[in-house]
């Protein structure tokens, strides 16, 4: 089992942080805060989104993630790295890690109206946590 895990890890071309830098940081910046009015910040939304199924679906289906050249396993690793390192909310112990299978399941569906879905999710989170 361990050997299998090691083989799977070595199949990844880069580690998760490097993949974040190569595939995400160019626009979302090194700390995930983005650029006001142009690139949304990941910091405040990562943890709240990752707590619900529809939020997790959005995090995978958003075009920058779904259309990246990363494999499903690499994408899951990057999302987990981002949760641990970029989320403003440090109470992430209860959030389950993304898996390759979960990413593959969400990624197969194309998200067309990402802005609207994001706004709806934020409104829902605000209603649930007044």
């Amino acid at each position: 089992m361990l050997a299998l895990a090691a083989a799977a890890a070595s199949a990844l071309a880069h580690d998760a942080q490097t993949n974040y830098i190569l595939h995400c940081q160019g626009c979302h910046t090194a700390d995930g805060s983005g650029l006001e009015g142009k690139v949304p910040s990941l910091r405040s939304t990562l943890a709240p989104f990752a707590r619900s199924r529809e939020g997790r679906t959005f995090l995978v289906q958003v075009p920058g993630v779904a259309q990246s050249t990363l494999t499903d396993a690499e994408t899951a690793a990057v999302l987990n790295w981002m949760l641990r390192n970029l989320a403003d909310d440090r109470q992430i112990a209860g959030i389950s890690a993304f898996t390759e299978k979960e990413v593959a399941g969400y990624r197969a569906t194309r998200l067309v109206n990402s802005r609207e879905v994001r706004a709806q999710l934020l409104a829902k989170i605000a209603t649930n946590n007044p």
């Binding site: 942080q17 490097t18 830098i21 595939h23 160019g26 142009k38």
Partner: protein
């Protein structure tokens, strides 16, 4: 109107009692020197904060940064700031660095390592026009937009969308 004269005279005399001509000259000189320093302020010095030179992981350097063949330019598409009044990592005076950048990796033949490079566009002045390089390693076509370098990254700059040249900053080692 005599009362107005009185007030003016009294206040002038009060100023004269409190201050000397020498102090006026001193303040005037400070203002002049201060004002002459003002035009220097708006130049962005983002690269000054860059830890590259003191970093033990900094790459070994070889080659000429004013030519397209220089190792850091493997994915570049634009004018080299080293030919445009800037440096390898800092924008020329009068331009602003775009925060949003194209990021890729380049192999450094001097130490045999792969480095992550950030190509930051310098914005706010029209195209420099010198040292155009178009090597594009790792660049994808526009229909694969997230790794395509054919954008004007100056849309992510406060210097508006006018593109001037590009700097190449080492972000770290590709692990």
């Amino acid at each position: 109107m005599k009362w107005l004269d009185g007030i003016a005279e009294e206040s002038t005399r009060a100023v004269a009692r409190r201050s000397s001509r020498r102090s006026l000259l001193g303040r005037l000189a400070a203002t002049l020197v201060g004002a002459s320093a003002l035009p220097l302020l708006p130049i962005e010095r983002g690269a000054a904060a860059e830890p590259e030179k003191t970093d033990p992981n900094a790459p070994q350097e070889s080659g000429d940064p004013t030519t397209c063949e220089y190792w850091r330019y493997c994915g570049i598409d634009g004018f080299l700031c080293t030919c445009c009044g800037g440096s390898l990592t800092s924008c020329p005076p009068g331009t602003l660095t775009a925060a949003v950048t194209w990021i890729g990796t380049c192999h450094n033949p001097a130490d045999g390592k792969d480095y992550i490079l950030s190509y930051n566009d310098c914005c706010g002045k029209s195209g420099c026009g010198r040292c155009l390089c178009n090597r594009n390693e790792g660049d994808t076509p526009l229909y694969q937009p997230f790794l395509s370098n054919d954008y004007n990254w100056c849309v992510g700059s406060k210097g508006d969308i006018a593109y001037h040249c590009t700097v190449s900053r080492v972000v770290g080692l590709a692990k």
